[in-house]
Symmetry: C2
DNA sequence: TAAAAATGTAAAACACACTTGACATTTTGT
DNA sequence: ACAAAATGTCAAGTGTGTTTTACATTTTTA
């Protein structure tokens, strides 16, 4: 699974710190998600995609398992 | 956050064990999710909603936070 | 009505999402 | 060029999702 957070964030021209604040997590969490260190929780995935006005499936890409 | 797993599962007439097998988790995990003991991971939420041919947001309900 | 199937509970163990803090590197702006 | 802002790394700690095992209760069916 990977995600489009970094792209979406740059399109919208917001900083990691801004996004982190907006969804109430640490900047470290955003960094780790963007760099594929681990996956977001369902709650966080929801907040992030809501922040970008998108569906979870359009931000987080689940390749075949 | 709550979810519609139990309802959807009964509509489709599948057992907890069937669903668990279909999404590769333990029956215990399904029980705990249905009874609100904890929330699914993003991966699992995706597998479950895909199993029911639905979007994550239509299976897992995020009340205002 | 008894056996079988389905659902539930409880607790210990493990994996991973997320935090915290401190510091290093890259990018941006003047 | 230099300072400031943004991004990244590392490591230890906390909390929670998931597994496993074993057993109890409820529901279904022959």
């Amino acid at each position: 699974m990977h995600n489009k957070i970094k792209e979406l964030r740059k399109e919208k021209k917001v900083t990691q710190d801004d996004l982190a604040g907006a969804v109430s997590v640490t900047r470290q969490t955003i960094i780790s998600l963007e760099n594929g260190k681990y996956n977001a929780s369902l709650q966080l995935a929801h907040k992030i995609s809501k922040y970008f006005n998108m569906k979870i499936e359009d931000v987080f890409i689940f390749e075949e398992e």
